[in-house]
Structures are given as C-alpha cells and as structure tokens.
C-alpha cells in the first residue's frame, strides 16, 4: 500500500471546483484511491460526494492511499494536483476525466 500526505493548496479547501477536478482525476487514473483526513476513516477518492463531505479546509493535510503497480505514479500526480491552487477559474480539468 502506497501512501502520500499532502496539504490542500486550494483557497476554498477541497470543495466546489477543486473537489470536482480532484475526483475527476482520480476516476480518470483507473486506480482505486482513498483519501482521509488526519485521524479520519479513508473514503473513496473518486466520489465527489464523499470527498466534499470530508470538508477539508485550505492548508489541512490529507492522506491518499492506493495499491498496485501504478499506485506510486498516480499518487504523485494527485499530490501535484492537490498542491496546486485549483480555484483559479482558468484552471482546466486535469487528467481529461470521463
């Protein structure tokens, strides 16, 4: 099991547009990924409903986890995404989801 911990860079937290872009990227990766707040239960990172209901604020750390041969590459990509401010209206969806 590969894991990464990263602080959410988006100013509104992992809500709205950032949550949408993040879950799209997870779904597009084809790898099952979970996301958890510190001390919280991991949830399916491809579900916008679960990710939004975590309510992660700006600057808080989350832990991503995945299994399999592509896990490290996918997690690195997702870490890059979460370290970016995804609020900017001109940000295009990463990963060409669905």
């Amino acid at each position: 099991m590969a894991e990464r911990t990263v602080a959410v860079a988006s100013r509104v937290g992992l809500h709205a547009r950032p949550a949408m872009l993040f879950t799209q990227a997870v779904a597009a990766s084809g790898v099952p990924v979970t996301i958890a707040r510190a001390g919280g239960a991991p949830v399916d990172a491809a579900s916008i409903l679960f990710v939004m209901s975590l309510g992660v604020p700006h600057g808080e750390e989350v832990t991503l986890a995945a299994d399999g041969p592509d896990a490290d590459r996918v997690l690195d990509e997702l870490v890059t995404l979460l370290s970016t401010d995804l609020d900017a209206p001109e940000t295009e969806p990463a990963g060409g989801a669905s």
Binding site: R11, R17, M20, D44, S47, G55, P89
Partner: protein
C-alpha cells in the same frame, strides 16, 4: 396532466414587477415529480424484476449525468461550475453503487434513491456552510433521476422553442440562469416576492414579471396568457380588446423611449435619471436615455469566482465601465457581499442571521484588504480614463463608519465619497452622515427590509416589504431633508426609483437623482416631465399623511395628472 382552471378572460392576480405587458404561450417549469416512495416499477402492468429495475436505475443516472454535462457545456461562469458539479454527483459511483445495492435487495427504486440521497444530504447539512447549500444540487439530481426512473418528464426549465411566458412555482437563481432569454417574454411565479432574485433579474432584463400568482402553475403548457406587470395580472385566453390595449401600451412605450433629454420636472427642476449596472458589459448597454450610472454593483465581479480579483483585473473592469459611459456620471458601490450574496473567500459560513451580520461595509472589520484593493483599483481606473467616478459604501450604520470609509477612499485618491442609506439608523442620523461624506444614496429594498424587520426573500411577507409603507417613507423623507439642509445630493437607487408614481413622491421629498434598471427610465422621465416640482411636493405631503401603504399610494395617484396615469397604466 394539467388543465386550465380559470375560465377564459378571468385574470389571476399577483404582484407585478415592472410595467410592461405581453401576450404569449405558457411554458411551465416542471416541478419535482410527485411519486410515492414505494411506487413499484411496472412492466406491462406487473412489477419489474430487480434485474430490470437495476438496468432502469443505472440508465437513469447515466442519462441525467449526460444531460447535465451537456447543459454545463452551453453555460458560463458560476452556472457552468454548478451544473458540472451536479453532473458529477449524478455520475458518482458511490451514490449509484449504494442505490443499486438496495435495488438488488428488492427495495422499490424511488425509496432506494431517496434513502441514499437522504444520507448524503444529512451529511452535507451537518457540515453546514457551503456544503449545506449544495443539498439543493443533490436534491435536483434526485428529482431528475426519480423522474427518469418512473418515466415522467425531467423537472426543471424547459427548452423554449418559441417566445414564451415562463411559469414556475418558484425559480432558483440557477434556474433563472439556465433560461434561454431570447425566448422569454415574461416570468410568472406562484411564490417569490417583488424584491426576490427572480423579480430583480427580470427587472434588469426588462422582462415583465408577476409574482405570487395563485393557481398559475395549473395552466396547461401552451395556454396563451396576457401578462400585465403594471396591473399584476395574468389573464388566460385574452380577448382582442386586451390584445389591442397591450399593443397601444407597447406603442406608447416606444414613443416614450424617444425622449432621451435630461430628467427634469415640468418647471425645469433637474432630477438626474441614472441606470443601475453590474458589469462593464451592462455599462455598454446603457443608452443615451441615462445621464450616467447611479449604482455600479461591483460584487458581480467577485461573485463569479472563488478568490478576490486582483487590483489589475478590477482596475481593467472599472476602466471599461467608465469608458463605456464616456464621461457621464458613475457611482461605484464597493463590495456588497454577505447575506444573500455570499463569497467563498470572505463570508463567514456559520452566521445565524446573515442579513444582520458581517455584510457590506462591515467586511472591513475582517477583510480590510478587500476594500483597500478595490479603492486602489478604482483610483487606477480613474487615472487611466480621466473620468472621476464617485464611490459609495453599502450597509453603513454610523457616522464613524462613514468617516472611516471617506478617509480610506480619499486616501486612495477618489474625491467624491458617499454612503448608502439602507439601515434605519443611517436614515435617522442622515444629517450626521452627510457631515462626513459628499452624498448619500438610499437603497429602498434593504431600507424596507430593515425598517419592517422583514426578510427580503420571504415572498409571503411582501405586504410588509412594500416601499409605500409609511414608516419606510418617513425614513426616506428624513434622509432627503438632511440632504436639502446640507446642500448635498441624495439619490435613490432601489427598485422604488423605477416606479413612476413613487418617483414623483421622491422628487417631491427632495431626492436629487433616481437610478434604476435602464428599461424603466422612459416611464419615469415621462412622469417627472409632466409634473411641476410644486405638484411633486404636494404629492409627497399627501403621501406622508397616509396611515397605510395602500392609502399612501392612493393619495399619490389622486394627485397625478390623469393623462399621465392613463398613458403609464398607473
């Protein structure tokens, strides 16, 4: 499914917004499907197998997601993001998976969908703030999927194939935004209020609108109705007399619009007639009929995004607006966020009474940088264009706030500084405010809300929100008097400035400028031009002696020139 309940020619009554009148076919915005949770899915009269139900439910989710994605692609800005996020909810594998698990277990599909959506909705509501607001989106996914599953038309705004009168129980802001405006003749709602979102947007678009019309959602799609915003009526199957009368009014309106001279009373007392705008694009549409802009609502620039626009972006937007009105007067209102206009980066999500909380100028307490950036941007736009905009702050309650704002604005380099009068405290002490600033502008919608302790968004309390309420008029009179004493301008930029009858009262009270949706200018100009200042003062005096809102309006009407009343359908 629906029938015409009223006989032909019998008018349904509501509260009109604006003055125009149109005839056109009804297009109903379809409500959420009314389906019992245990309604079985039938195939040829027999309950479907769980496997069949699973296929139907799966396809419903996929179709709804695809439909929302297609809508998102044709939308822009915030609406696009909301629709895209809603599409992704419909596409959510966890949501769909949990529903299918329950369906596989033999649960009726509607109950399964309600159960799973309910769990997520409760989770969102518990989180509060932004997430609680998203429950509306989640429920709209639910309504759409349920409609698909049971074979009903998908709820929401219909695709308009011809110019139509859009009829709804109520319209959410996102519904309004999803309307194809080129084919909207008028908007009629069963709920809502004359100062709610729908009414204000209709006013800005110059669309006739009637709200609080009982029974209007019973009209069948395609029923031809006559919508008269001035009278607040909706008449199904109008006869030729009604159509002819509407046509004469349309012709009269067109004639009124020919007069674009400066606003003045019959005896030449000048009353500046200005337009309200929200964007530089609006400014470009302000025609020769406006002597300038009396209210530039800058929050539109902020609401479109999740972080504050930079000083450069703002300076460009303000400069574009100043250039568009080309040397005419422009009054810029600083950010009026909070309450019904939350901002992701500034609003406190957990306020219990946001209308009484940190909104408007009060944001300076926690986010002074927002105001200072805005003032700096305005100063830059001023330098770049050579124009000299006025600036005013919303939601001022005390002279200290007015002084603080004036100091900040003048330090930034904006010379003419004013404040809004929306809070009764500000109206009562308008004299003290005017000692600190160069002008005031009365926002009658909020002034009515705060004077009457009545939420602007509660349509069923529309009678209390009436700007003809004597208590509200007393505060307007107090403010106008303070302006006359100080020799400083007092404007009105609320919806009441757009009512030709109220405009006469305001002129009589001593108000020096009226700012409104551009479409309302011709009628107001016509009314003011046909009465002397002394008549306006007599009208104002009669209105102030009235005890009720209805008496006040009747007292004004009794003194208006009968020809003017007939021409404007007052």
């Amino acid at each position: 499914m629906t029938t015409t309940s009223a006989p032909a020619g019998t008018a349904l009554r509501g509260v009109g917004v604006g003055r125009r009148a149109v005839v056109g076919p009804v297009a109903q915005v379809r409500p959420a499907p009314d389906v019992a949770p245990d309604e079985p899915l039938l195939v040829d009269g027999a309950p479907a197998t769980p496997a069949h139900v699973r296929t139907v439910v799966e396809r419903a989710f996929a179709d709804v997601a695809a439909g929302l994605r297609a809508q998102a692609e044709t939308a822009a800005g915030t609406v696009r993001d909301v629709l895209a996020a809603t599409a992704q909810m419909a596409d959510d594998a966890v949501l769909r998976g949990q529903v299918l698990t329950r369906v596989d277990g033999g649960e009726p599909p509607v109950a399964a969908i309600d159960g799973v959506v309910g769990t997520f909705a409760a989770m969102f509501e518990q989180a509060g703030g932004y997430l609680a607001e998203r429950v509306t989106d989640l429920r709209s996914v639910r309504d759409r999927v349920v409609a698909r599953v049971v074979g009903l038309p998908e709820p929401g705004v219909p695709h308009l194939e011809q110019p139509s009168v859009v009829v709804a129980r109520d319209l959410a802001p996102a519904d309004t935004a999803a309307l194809d405006l080129t084919n909207v003749l008028a908007i009629v709602t069963e709920l809502g209020g004359p100062t709610g979102h729908t009414a204000i947007i209709a006013g800005q678009l110059g669309l006739p609108c009637v709200v609080r019309v009982d029974g209007v959602t019973d009209l069948a799609d395609g029923t031809v109705v006559a919508v008269d915003a001035a009278a607040g009526t909706v008449t199904p199957d109008p006869d030729d007399a009604v159509r002819d009368a509407f046509e004469r009014r349309r012709a009269a309106d067109a004639a009124l619009a020919q007069d674009t001279g400066p606003g003045a009373t019959a005896d030449g007392h000048a009353v500046a007639l200005l337009a309200n705008i929200g964007t530089a694009a609006d400014a470009e549409r302000v025609g020769a009929g406006a002597e300038g802009v009396g209210l530039f609502r800058t929050e539109v620039l902020f609401l479109e995004r999740t972080q504050a626009p930079t000083v450069d972006e703002q300076a460009d937007a303000y400069a574009a607006a100043l250039r568009a009105v080309d040397g005419r007067k422009v009054v810029v209102r600083t950010l009026d966020a909070g309450a019904d206009k939350p901002l992701a980066f500034a609003t406190q999500p957990d306020e219990e009474n946001p209308a009484l909380g940190v909104r408007g100028y009060r944001l300076v307490r926690s986010h002074a940088e927002l105001l200072d950036t805005q003032l700096a941007a305005l100063a830059r736009a001023q330098e770049a264009t050579g124009s000299t905009p006025w600036v005013m702050a919303p939601m001022i309650a005390t002279p200290d706030e007015a002084r603080d704002f004036a100091a900040r604005a003048r330090a930034a380099g904006v010379a003419t500084v004013g404040v809004m009068v929306e809070v009764p405290a500000a109206a009562l002490r308008a004299r003290d405010l005017l000692a600190e600033v160069d002008f005031v502008s009365i926002g009658t919608n909020d002034l009515a809300q705060y004077t009457m302790a009545t939420d602007r968004l509660r349509g069923e309390l529309a009678d209390l929100l009436d700007v003809w309420q004597p208590a509200v008029l007393d505060l307007v009179a107090t403010t106008a008097r303070a302006g006359l004493e100080a020799g400083k301008p007092v404007g009105v930029c609320g919806e009441s400035a757009a009512d030709p009858l109220m405009a006469l009262v305001l002129v009589g009270l001593g108000v020096t400028s009226l700012s409104m949706a551009a479409g309302a200018l011709p009628a107001v100009r016509y009314a003011v031009r046909h009465h002397t200042r002394a008549t306006c003062e007599a009208i104002a005096g009669a209105v102030l002696r009235a005890r009720t809102a209805a008496d006040a309006r009747a007292a004004a009407l009794a003194l208006v020139d009968p020809d003017v009343a007939a021409t404007l359908a007052l």
